[in-house]
């Protein structure tokens, strides 16, 4: 799919997913596959970097809703970083900031993970 892409890398022993483009009901399955792969490999300290994500619809947020319990259940978390205002606004409208760590940048997420573990 041309308008969405995910890269996976590691940083300080944490898994980082970089999202690019537009995340909607068509592209959400790619994010789902990436998250499932990490969880199946017991890699549960996950940072999702939104700096290159231009757009998100509720289908994209749904993926984070569906997997957060699994990840927390095995002692990890999914922390979300670097959102632009437009994308943050959608998370905010749906009440995510009280239930998820949404942070300014990756370093804050790394620090939070280090303090928690």
């Amino acid at each position: 799919m041309k308008n969405f892409k995910i890269d996976h890398r590691t940083k300080n022993g944490l898994e980082v997913l970089d999202l690019y483009g537009e995340l909607d009901a068509h592209t959400a399955s790619q994010l789902e596959d990436s998250l499932k792969r990490l969880i199946n490999n017991q890699k549960c300290n996950i940072i999702v970097n939104f700096s290159e994500l231009d757009y998100i619809a509720s289908a994209g947020l749904g993926v984070f809703m569906a997997y957060i319990e699994d990840v927390r259940g095995i002692g990890g978390d999914i922390k979300l970083t670097n959102m632009n205002d437009k994308v943050y606004n959608v998370f905010d409208l749906l009440g995510f900031p009280t239930l998820y760590d949404i942070l300014e940048n990756e370093s804050e997420a790394v620090e939070k993970f280090l303090n928690e573990n």
Partner: protein, 140 residues
Amino acid sequence: MDKATTYQKRVNASTQNLSAIRNFVSEHAKEQGFSAQKVADIQLAVDEAYTNIIKHAYNNDSDQIVIINLEFDDEKMVVTLTDHGIGFDVEKYKKPSLQKQIERKRRGGMGVYLMRKLMDEVTYHAKNRKNVLRMCKNKN
């Protein structure tokens, strides 16, 4: 009657078309002088509405058709989405609890809430297997 400008698009009910529909809607809203924030709101509301039709009205049958109509006058934009699938009563809808959805590992159920939050007016009419969702956004 004041002058109105209208645009129409007939598309198959497939998520493949989401990006093209967002572009169609935002292009015209921009052209008509809506602010960037309002264009973003309209774009997302239409995305959610169209996604709901694909999933709930048509059960992912991409042979089915959705008609999207945009109508602009000096004060507002009216978007209508028409389908001939299974009706969905927007009026009965309640705001989902994110906490509960997460506990049940459920996704979805957020689309109608967003549409209502993002648009100034949302109405729905279902008659003889023709469903018309009408969403209105004021320019100022």
